[in-house]
Amino acid sequence: MRGIWTVARKELSHILRDKVSGLILFVLPALFFISIGFAISVDIERIDLAIANTAGPKANEVINHLCNMNKVSKVVMLNSPSEVEESFARDGIVAAIVISEGEGGYNAPFKFDLFINCSFATNILAIRNPISSAIKNALIGPGNDSPFTVRYLYNSDLNRKMATIPGVIMIILIVVSTIIFSISINKEKVHGTSRLLSLTPLGPMIIVIGKLIPYFLISLIHISYLIFLGQSIFGLGINGSFLLYFLFCALFSLNSMMLGLLVGSYCKTYEAALIICWFFIFTPNLFLSGFVMPVNSMPETMQKIARLHNGYHFIEGYRGIAYKGTGLSENLPHILFLTIQSLIAFIIALLGFSRRYSKS
């Protein structure tokens, strides 16, 4: 115990004495959470639209409905349909609509050609649907009840921050617990202090646990204030057990640290540790966890690979516990995966540590 506490205290004082590193570790994640939490949105927030009208003044009502649509930030009136393509380049619009004379009659007074910049596929519906509704409302009024009742369970007002917040927390914990911890582990070797430590009666396990404790405490601090920020700024409370939620996040943090420990134990320099963590842990987790795109949208093989990443299990478990209010049994697969992965990483890292400390 004394050995663990000694190593932990040394590590903690090292972190706290370097003011800039302390700032990075404590303040930046909070700033990151707030700024990225606001910035990243799965919903389209601004529709810049261009309209070309060849149907004359009778289309004005439709144009008014389009201009007053929710989230329209800019409307560019074009002189003719031939300007549509240029308008995409010149005005940076996401959609253009050409209103022309319809086939005639009450039911088809106009014809609409809607051009959408589809380079980001998941935004297509978000752009098309409000335009379609605005046209429909202009032509036949908002009447006509939909034959469907739609309810969003666990998220009745479809708060889109639910999609991004788990991912942002995942990123913060991976950066602090995996990348920074891995560099810190590797630093010992680079600076030669590992040789000194190998001469002490402390075994490698004691040293590893001692080094782990301060970073684990820091990650617990992060988890705590991220809960507070999530609730106060984004209105996202925890529907499930708070204890289970906290322990689950702590488990993920520990899991990330084990992966960082694994990388740091075997890399010769901290640049190498950083590169390995960045390309094989951070980047895959960013894209494969379900944060950027749903896992269900990936090809089968990629879905299987996604399920091998700790980020995927974190996001799934997080959604279950925090949003759905599910308990231990529903999230057991994710908890088991994270636990087993942590144990395997720890054992392999310890072997590397033992070899390194005994060689040096």
């Binding site: 590193s21 949105s41 380049a89 809607l114 959408i116 980001f120 998941t122 429909k136 369970l153 894209f287």
Partner: protein, 356 residues
Amino acid sequence: MKRFYYIFKHEVLAFVRFPLMIILLLLCPIVVIGFIPQTLGHSIKFNCAIVDMDHSYASMEIGQKILSSEYCLPPIWCGSVEEAMHLMEYNSVLLIVSIPEGYERGIALGNPEKITLLADGSRVIEADIAVPKMISLLSDNDASGGIINLHRLFNSEEHSEQYYLVSLISMSLLIIAMFLIGLNIAGEKKHNTLSQIIVTGVDMRLYLGTKVLFYSLVVILELFLCLAMGYIVYDMTIDSGIGQLVMVTYILTFPLLFLGVFIASVARNDIQALYLMIFLMIFLVMLSSIIAPLANMSGISYYFCRMNPVNWLTESLRVVITYGYPLRTILPELIAGILLSVIFFFSSIRLLKRIN
């Protein structure tokens, strides 16, 4: 000229003798371009449960429509909404289609009961896509009643690969630009080589300029590696010419290179430089149009994104590779890139000269 040659030679030798740099150069296209886009931008196939309280021919028809849809996996038939919600808690279904009792009778009477769609709101993106698709599938039309002709520009098949490929190329160039030069300068400060170089009286503008020039060529090399990977794996093509692409990349990479230099200059040691680079890189990636398009940003984030040099690079690459617009559309970004490079350049020189 002689100084320039030897400084350049020093950078080349230092680069090729540091295997990690070569590994980084190769890892980027393989992992970021070759592997990651495989995961992105395909149509969501969602799983749904059907709770049939009507047990009629009409409800069977609904089931048949869902079964034959390209968007839905084979549905799970449940006896009750509670049973279906239990599946939802285990993430086995995204959507529950609940057909009420008397549905078919209501159709016959001209006043059908409403079908209830219960979506898993915790999976926002999927629910947002799945619900309109389900409505469209079950009602056989779209909201506009068929009077809108939809023209998809730049992406006819609802794949986001083209969007993300460009984004990922931009991310790769950012990683190479910032990490390589940042680590290089941080290393020179750590080994005190920079002090010795300053004492020689060499003009720091020449020294730093030559260094950045070398790494800008490395970034162009990386660009070609990424394009090659994009072409081999995804048949990616460039809408405008390769010359335009190289020119745009070259100009807009300089702010990122100088940013790496600036961070290495500001940091007191190499560890601090690493930490700063990591966080800054993530900020820049997230607050640009790499992950989500500009249209998804609101308020201050939107304006920050517009000022973000990574966004300039990403959008400019998109203009050249995907859209094929003329270069004058990105003139403001090119000018801003040059200005920012100059600011970072001179700030870094002042910082490096006065190391303490």
